[in-house]
């Protein structure tokens, strides 16, 4: 899905920068590189570099934010071990949005705007029960799950989740990031995921033993 293209000189290799719904990537780079085994090495390298220094955007809203701060600043649970202690207030420089806390109706457009302002590649962890599904606040004021607003990569239950649980979520996210495919492999995976989502059975129809 081309939106615009511009010719770019990247380390002596002429390629094109295109923008699509998945994000900006150097299309021409993949054409120039050998495919197959060597592409998987590039994928591995890019994934390793991306996951080693994820910068979270400060999106602490409520109680979960305090546990996120505990993870970030308490010497006991140290987020610097992942290279993530540099919380970025500016979404332009952030990679990861940890939605920590309950999202109210007034806050929802702000959340979406911050997500839009983040540059690709970006990931979202919805931390806590309120962010994942509205939590215990099943009412008029709270958005019942931030996946109504932004696409979520990892859902982390808890009220609030302990800092260790958030660390576990981050480690799982790192595994996800490390395995991201590039180029044609990525397009194939995206097609697969979309097909699975379109054919997925809604929860209420998964009768299981009731059927």
């Amino acid at each position: 899905m081309h939106m615009y293209g511009a010719a770019v000189d990247w380390n002596g290799i002429n390629c094109e920068v295109t923008k699509s719904i998945e994000g900006v990537y150097l299309v021409g780079l993949e054409d120039k590189l050998p495919s197959g085994i060597l592409l998987s090495t590039v994928e591995g390298l890019a994934g390793y570099m991306r996951k080693s220094s994820v910068w979270p955007a400060t999106f602490g809203l409520a109680c979960c934010a305090i546990e996120m701060m505990a993870l970030g600043s308490a010497p006991k649970h140290d987020i610097s071990r992942f290279g993530m202690e540099r919380f970025s207030a500016s979404p332009r420089q952030a990679d990861l949005m940890i939605v920590a806390g309950r999202v109210s109706q007034k806050m929802a457009p702000v959340l979406r705007q911050i997500y839009d302002q983040m540059t690709a590649p970006k990931w979202v962890i919805s931390m806590g029960a309120c962010a994942s599904s509205g939590g215990m606040f099943n009412n008029y004021a709270i958005v019942q799950g931030v996946d109504h607003i932004v696409p979520v990569d990892i859902y982390l239950p808890g009220c609030p989740p302990r800092p260790e649980q958030l660390m576990d979520a981050i480690i799982k996210l790192h595994a996800l990031i490390g395995d991201t495919k590039l180029g044609p492999n990525r397009e194939a995976i995206i097609k697969e995921v979309e097909l699975a989502a379109l054919n997925a059975k809604p929860t209420i129809q998964m009768k299981g033993l009731l059927a």
Binding site: T58, F59, G60, L61, A62, C63, A65, I66, E67, M69, A70, S73, A74, P75, K76, F87, A89, P91, G101, R102, S104, Q105, K106, M107, V110, I114, M136, F137, N139, Y140, A141, I142, C159, P160, R162
Partner: protein, 444 residues
């Protein structure tokens, strides 16, 4: 001028409004250079590292001076008060506790004191339960002040105190976990008493904790008090005198920093606070530095109270922690079994095997809940931010008819314009940090 898609401007009744979308900076600068005024409107939006939560500040600046501050709140409104009307009196505690999430025990205690007032059992709450409530409240005061000091310092640029403060906070949260099972939002204080007793050996563990904290607080103090940058950033900033405080309804460290020793624990004691010896800390400078000193010194007073409570708890060993009236007391006892914390097998043996009455009580209390006679009550506690009060209205049923929390941060935050207008932009951060608002309580 020609239409510029990157830096367009339009005339409004208030003057020229420039829309900046990035792009051509030069044309924007030349345009502004042509304009005579220097008023800028800046939005410190709900997502900001230094506004202490989801607070929106709309500032009108002239250069570096702030001419107007408007506060926007409501970004965390959760409808807690309305939600509580659909749960029974004990379940509502779980909602109350998530309101001001840095001091959950205070929320619960204010609510439970109001419910107990309505039930008329304020005198029946056991001494041990009251003592445990005081213990938890003072521990919570320490953990809340740690966050206040840490984040306040962080917002003003000092990162070191944040790490020290959270180190102390982790120790207190470990104590909470040992006693209640949860680090935050514990739902531990219930109408009638507390959910369960302290585990064995807890008082000696807590004595060790008090010793460690006393030593560690000196580190915190040494980092900031006397530090010339800290003094320059906090002295004389965010001034709000006694008249301002009383008309705005401000209580807590902000009121005590004006010199008035108003502390509900001393003036209108609850939960047995009259039995403990402690000082009310005041400052007389009514600025950010004064409030910082008040908070730092309140930590030591909290430790004093905790020591006295621990001595008292040792003498009250074995007393129940819930009211004796079986028609109100929360029935479940929890015990540590082979597979973790769960229903005490003794309790289950009793209700299933020996006592029909206990079974009925347990069933009715857990499904229906107790009934509270009609009326209204207002109970206030001294939370780390000020007077936290619950105003509870009952219509005689099993569910609250209306619960309204008078949150200290809601009032305290109203003073932001009074503290900041006329000062510089950077001082707003200090003023807001000294108020220590918790947006969950402001918006409920």
């Amino acid at each position: 001028m020609t239409f510029d898609p990157y830096a367009s401007s339009r005339e409004t009744t208030e003057g020229t409004v420039f829309s900046v979308t990035g792009g051509d900076w030069d044309s924007l600068v030349t345009e502004i250079g042509e304009a005579k005024e220097e008023r800028i409107i800046v939005n410190m939006g709900p997502q900001h590292p230094s506004t202490h939560g989801v607070l929106r500040l709309v500032l009108e600046l002239e250069g570096e001076t702030v001419t107007e501050v408007r506060t926007g709140i409501g970004y965390l409104h959760t409808g807690i008060e309305k939600n509580m009307e659909f749960r029974n009196w004990t379940q509502a505690v779980t909602f109350a506790t998530r309101m001001d999430y840095l001091s959950p025990i205070f929320n619960e205690t204010a609510y439970c004191l109001a419910v107990e007032k309505l039930l008329g059992i304020t005198g029946d709450v056991t001494e041990r339960a009251s003592a445990i409530r005081v213990l938890m409240m003072e521990l919570n005061r320490i953990s809340s002040h740690m966050v206040a000091l840490g984040t306040g310092a962080l917002e003003l640029g000092a990162m070191g105190p944040m790490f020290f403060a959270f180190r102390e906070r982790e120790m207190v949260l470990d104590a909470f976990e040992a006693i209640t099972g949860l680090r935050m939002n514990m739902a531990y204080v219930r109408p009638g008493g507390v959910a369960q007793d302290l585990p064995a050996g807890m008082t000696s563990q807590l004595r060790e904790l008090v010793k460690t904290l006393r030593k560690n607080f000196k580190d915190n103090a040494a980092l900031l008090i006397g530090n010339s940058i800290w003094m320059k950033r906090t002295e004389g900033i965010g001034y709000l005198d006694l008249a301002g405080c009383t008309t705005l309804g401000i209580t807590g460290p902000v009121l005590r920093s004006t010199g008035l020793p108003w502390d509900l624990r001393k003036m209108q004691p609850y939960c047995g606070y009259e039995n403990y010896e402690f000082d009310v800390i005041t400052a007389d400078t009514a600025d950010v530095y004064g409030r910082f000193l008040v908070r730092m010194n309140e930590l030591e007073q909290s430790l004093r109270i905790i020591e006295q409570v621990l001595d008292r708890l040792d003498t009250l060993d074995g007393q129940p922690v819930m009211v004796a009236d079986k028609k109100i007391a929360w029935p479940a006892q929890l015990a540590l079994g082979a597979d973790g914390l769960g229903n005490s097998l003794d309790h289950i043996r009793e209700i299933m095997g020996s006592s029909m009455e206990s079974l009925i009580h347990h069933f009715k209390l857990v499904t229906e809940g107790f009934r509270v006679p009609a009326g209204q009550a207002y109970a206030a506690v001294e939370s780390p931010r000020g007077e936290l009060a619950a105003h509870v209205v009952s219509d005689g049923g099993t569910r609250p008819y209306r619960v309204h929390f008078r949150e200290p941060s809601f009032n305290n935050l109203q003073s932001t314009p009074a503290m900041s207008e006329g000062g510089m932009v950077a001082d707003i951060i200090g003023a807001v940090a000294s108020i220590d608002p918790v947006m969950g309580g402001v918006d409920r």
